[in-house]
Amino acid sequence: MSDRLVCCRMVALEPISHGDIPEQGAEERNFLQVRTVPWPVPTGEEDVEFVFIPAVSGNSIRGMTRRKFVGRILRVLGYDSRTNPLDAEKAYFLLAGGTLQGSRGGVSGREYAEVLQAMPFLELLGGSYRGVFFPGALQVGWAWPVTKETREFLKAFSPFRHELDHPEPGVQVPPARALARGNAALEHVYRFTRASVAGEGDEQGKLLEDLERLVGGSRQSGCNRLREVLGRTDLKGDQLALAIASAVKLEELEGLAAGLDGENGEGKGKPEDRVRAAWKKIVAAIKGSQALYGTQAIPAGIMLHSRFGLADVSSEQVLWAFHAFVETFQGLGRLGGMAGKGFGRVAVECRFADGRPFADHSLGAKWWEWLETNAETVKGALDKLDALARRAQELGELRRQVVDAGKLLEGKDPQAPKRKRGGGRRGSS
């Protein structure tokens, strides 16, 4: 049991950016709002109040680690985009879990068991390949910030009880309210800009050069005039059209805009409208890479806690793969996104549920040894996936025919359109 539950204590060395999904109909923002989850905070002897505290979802940790873990597996198996590429659909299945779309029914039996046995990491991570579903045995918990309230919950199972009560100097354990939504620590937005002018030879760079020529004069003066027009953010509508019209010839402007979408350059209507329409296309093309954006974040210096659990599995190789997966997370040493901009670095310490240090007792090395020894078997099982998928399709078709026959016996039309449940946009799985 204790080999299959690993807890992680993390200290945020950088702010952690992990976005929430905006409410439907919410005002559009140019910054990422940090994900928060309601947490009960006692307000009296029996009453509780829910405050929204930030947390990093297990889904994010699982997905990020899965991509790196499977990436290493594919390297060990010898797959490489240039010399020995893996079929893209299979790569998607292994790296992202595949898709349920096109599923016609499950498949079981000897071939299924053989594939699962040959690829123990599949039993760990799960996925779906062309309608063949493999359940996963891995559970990845949320990364909770350690607050005075969450600490009490974590102490029920965590092997880090002492560290939760006695954090390192400089690491704070604040009350949940201090970290909650509405508090300055969470509401602060880290803002960034992205420059609009692309490099030489780039399409946008060429477009700017063409515009400069249209504006006329020397390169420098043209550039200045163009910048002047581009920079006049206070001008809108007719005023902007007039400003542009004063700087360039209408036909030339339309010709340039036409080059962007291949339409006939000569427009119709009032000259101002034609200028505005042409300019809109050009601005959209130029501003394609320009943005002002930002993110909220969990502040650095906060302690977080997460865990990895493994359900009962069929072989010890799955346990080895589980340990290798946790090692991959530990090696990554980050949470959330925007890693390239100085976000998400964490110091990670892992222990088994019984308190043993994970690094000293991990069986992850055995996994990589096993994989190298059995690389050909694993690759063979990857090839068998297609046969398994065909079998699932056949079984699905057989099931459909049985259902149709049942409908005919009941006097119903099997070809009648199915009533859609829920309606609206549907996900792929």
């Binding site: 297990g58 918990g141 909770w144 009962d312």
Partner: protein, 253 residues
């Protein structure tokens, strides 16, 4: 076998299925699932009740540490879940991204000629979904069963979690407590403290349900609860016992 109370303390919100009708988690379903996992059995097809080792007809002796009730319809004496006090509903959203950079390293992603592998549309698209979830500190069950065996078996919940989207951290379990009920209830697991159904009860077994105004539906009353062969007309537990109803629409954050 004694009347017992099971308290599962949760460390993360409990999620309900997306775009499907939700049903309450029953203790016997949990126990059978954990037992089957331990014994390395997986049910992918609806089982023939005669061959199902965990069917109530085969108890005692099939390893399921729960008492069995019913005459014509046999079922385990274990309740559906009851949400603890102060349950707070909300919507939990998550996304799936396309692993483009990793695909470029290892696969023939760039020259794929089958279905278009586009992150913007089609079956490989990135997507976002919202699940109904409830922030709640504990869920309770009642049953008649073997205390020590249940404690041992339900300890596995610390690794597996409860509810849907467990793999992504929903329904994390902090602790499981199994203790004798503080009142002597021979019908523990069948009725709640107000005398209403605490689990799906086959209607033929409890004819008094109609007079009492219980709700009758075509429900599963024995594990596996997903199997059409497990269904019958049942008196069902009141929805407010296991689902935050009426459900306010409130996003996370």
């Amino acid at each position: 076998m004694v009347p017992l109370e099971v308290v599962v303390r949760l460390g993360s919100p409990l999620a309900y299925p997306c775009r499907q009708r939700p049903f309450p988690i029953t203790l016997d379903a949990l126990v059978v699932a954990l037992l089957a996992r331990r014994e390395g059995r997986r049910l992918l097809e609806p089982p023939d009740p005669a061959e199902d080792p965990y069917a109530p007809e085969n108890a005692p002796g099939n390893g399921v540490p729960l008492a069995v009730a019913g005459k014509k319809y046999r079922f385990y004496q274990a309740s559906a879940m009851e949400l603890g006090p102060g349950a707070r509903p909300f919507l939990f959203g998550w996304v799936r991204r396309f692993p483009a950079e990793d695909m470029l390293l290892h696969s023939d992603y760039g020259k794929y000629e089958g279905d278009v592998l586009a992150p913007g549309s089609g079956k490989y698209r990135c997507w976002m979904e919202r699940l109904p979830a409830v922030a709640v500190s504990e869920v309770r069950f009642e049953c008649v069963g073997d205390e020590s065996r249940l404690r041992d078996l339900l300890g596995d919940l610390l690794r597996t979690g409860l509810g849907v989207r467990r793999a992504a951290g929903m329904g994390e379990v902090a602790s499981v407590e199994v203790r004798p009920l503080d009142r002597d209830m021979r019908d523990a697991g069948l009725f709640d403290r107000y005398g209403r159904p605490a689990r799906p009860l086959p209607a033929e077994e409890f004819p008094a349900g109609e007079e009492r105004g219980w709700v009758c539906e075509w429900w599963a009353y024995r594990p596996p609860y997903w199997s059409p062969t497990s269904r019958a007309w049942c008196w069902v537990p009141p929805v407010e016992r296991w689902y935050p109803y009426p459900y306010p629409v409130r996003e996370v954050g």
